[in-house]
Amino acid sequence: MSTEKQNQLIRQAISELPDYQAPEQLWPQISEQLDIDQKERLIQRQLAQLPDYHPPETVWTEIAEGLAKAPPKNTWLRLVRQPLTWAASFLLLFSLYWLVTQSQGPEVSYTYTTQAESQWLLESDWDADEADFAEVVQLHQRYLRTFDDQSAASLQEEFDELNTAREEIKETLDRYGKDQELIRQLAAIERARTQIVNQMAQQI
């Protein structure tokens, strides 16, 4: 049989090959895996959003105390520790007595007074211009992306830094109550921010 004939027979056989049905449980399995993939994506996205936690302030006090104590002693000293401990106990008792008579701990007392305070201290208007600032900053960022200007990049960095400082003071005002000195500091930062935003506006 010629090769040509063989090829023709093969082609015919191929065209007559049967189709097969996929098992019924296949699509549910695929669907389940797609579902799992989707859930994994949601989890991964949220892992980046997990909050940080502040340790309690007392931790640092404990660390400072721990550092002030000597690190664990060498092995040979452990052997003689017991007799030394007994000898030290008497000294400790005497020292404690001496310390107690020296320092009874801090004395605490309270006083109560009143004073008059001006109402105009309390107005918080430092967020009033944020929308306007945001507009200029956004335009400036677009400018920066287009022109890659070193001085423009520098302005953005300065602005970010001042923003961080601003947030710190606002947080402190929030936690400690409104205070003249803090408000003055905030005003100085606002002036600096204003200056930078004006410079940004000139660049764009």
Binding site: A64, T111, A116, A165, Y176
Partner: protein, 300 residues
């Protein structure tokens, strides 16, 4: 005339009548502690919203007075909030620790602040870390280290070592004598009548330095800052000034050697004829620099 006087009086008092005055309750919690001083003792203060005042005493003791002050129109609220400010006064071996803090989860409705008045023997080293407050240290003779943020720092009559690290706020120093290292960021600085050696690294500040005859060495690197150097005896100092894109004003009548190694960079030098001379090594980048004569300062 009488009518004019009455009208004037009314006009002067009217603004006062227009400002609403509120009665504020002030609750002050006072804490006192003292320690007998030993030669190796140090005082470490960590303040938050604190005003720290430190002065020397002659009693060979460390005397600590702390006031926690809460102000609120409602006394009960002020009493409640004054207790939210934790204070610690503790001695661990040779270190006296003094701290105040508001727990991270706490907020105060009352205005809260802390005032530390501490007196120590003059030779006692002091370390202060403070934020949003004041640190004033006078007349100590050993070592003062300050790490401050948004605080006013005032140092007067100090001798010995001074180490300052500041962010924002301002520094005022007068009659300082010793070795000082200052790293400041967005901190305005005035140093008057200073002697000894000074290494200053500054950014975004207004810096005014008034030298005296006892100043041996000033090394200043200032970025984006306005720098003014005042000197009562201009020609007895060596100057090595480098400016980058910085308008500079120099005193007249002195033969400065000015070169321009690169565009926008100037090198300004002057060496006196004396055998020994103190020196200013100053670099200012993207700021302004002014050198001028000041009146002589007499030390007490």
């Amino acid at each position: 005339m009488k009518q004019i006087f009455v009208l004037l009086l009314f006009c002067l008092s009217a603004p006062c009548l227009l400002i609403a005055q509120e009665q504020i309750h002030v609750v002050t919690k006072k804490i006192n502690e003292s320690y007998n001083y030993r030669e190796d003792y140090e005082v470490n203060i960590e303040g938050d919203r604190a005003e720290v005042y430190i002065q020397p005493n002659l009693e060979n003791k460390i005397l600590i007075d702390i006031e926690v002050i809460a102000k609120h129109p409602n006394q009960e609220q002020a009493e409640k909030d004054v207790e939210k400010m934790a204070t610690i006064v503790k001695r661990l071996k040779n270190k006296i620790y003094i701290r105040n803090y508001l727990d991270a989860e706490e907020k105060s409705e009352a205005q809260l602040k802390v005032i530390y008045r501490i007196t120590v023997p003059a030779q006692c080293p002091v370390y202060i870390k403070n934020a949003y407050g004041v640190a004033e240290v006078d007349n100590l003779t050993n070592s003062v280290k300050i790490n401050s943020k948004f605080s006013h720092v005032s140092l007067q009559g100090l001798t010995g070592n001074m180490d300052l690290f500041t962010r924002y706020g301002d520094i005022y120093g007068q009659s300082l004598s010793g070795n000082a290292t200052i790293a400041s960021h967005r901190t305005d600085m005035i140093l008057k009548d200073i002697e000894g050696t000074y290494n200053i690294d500054a950014a975004y500040g207004n810096i005014q330095i008034y030298a005296s005859a006892g100043l041996l060495d000033l090394n200043l690197d200032a970025e984006k800052s306005q720098v003014m150097l005042f000197n009562p005896d201009l020609s007895s100092f060596r100057y090595d000034l480098t400016t980058v894109s910085t308008p500079t004003l120099l005193p007249e009548g002195m033969d400065f050697e000015i070169t321009q190694p690169e565009p926008n960079v100037q090198r300004i030098q002057y060496t006196p004829n004396n055998e020994y001379f103190p020196s200013f090594s100053v670099k200012v980048t993207f700021g302004t620099l002014q050198v001028q004569k000041s009146s002589k300062v007499k030390r007490p």
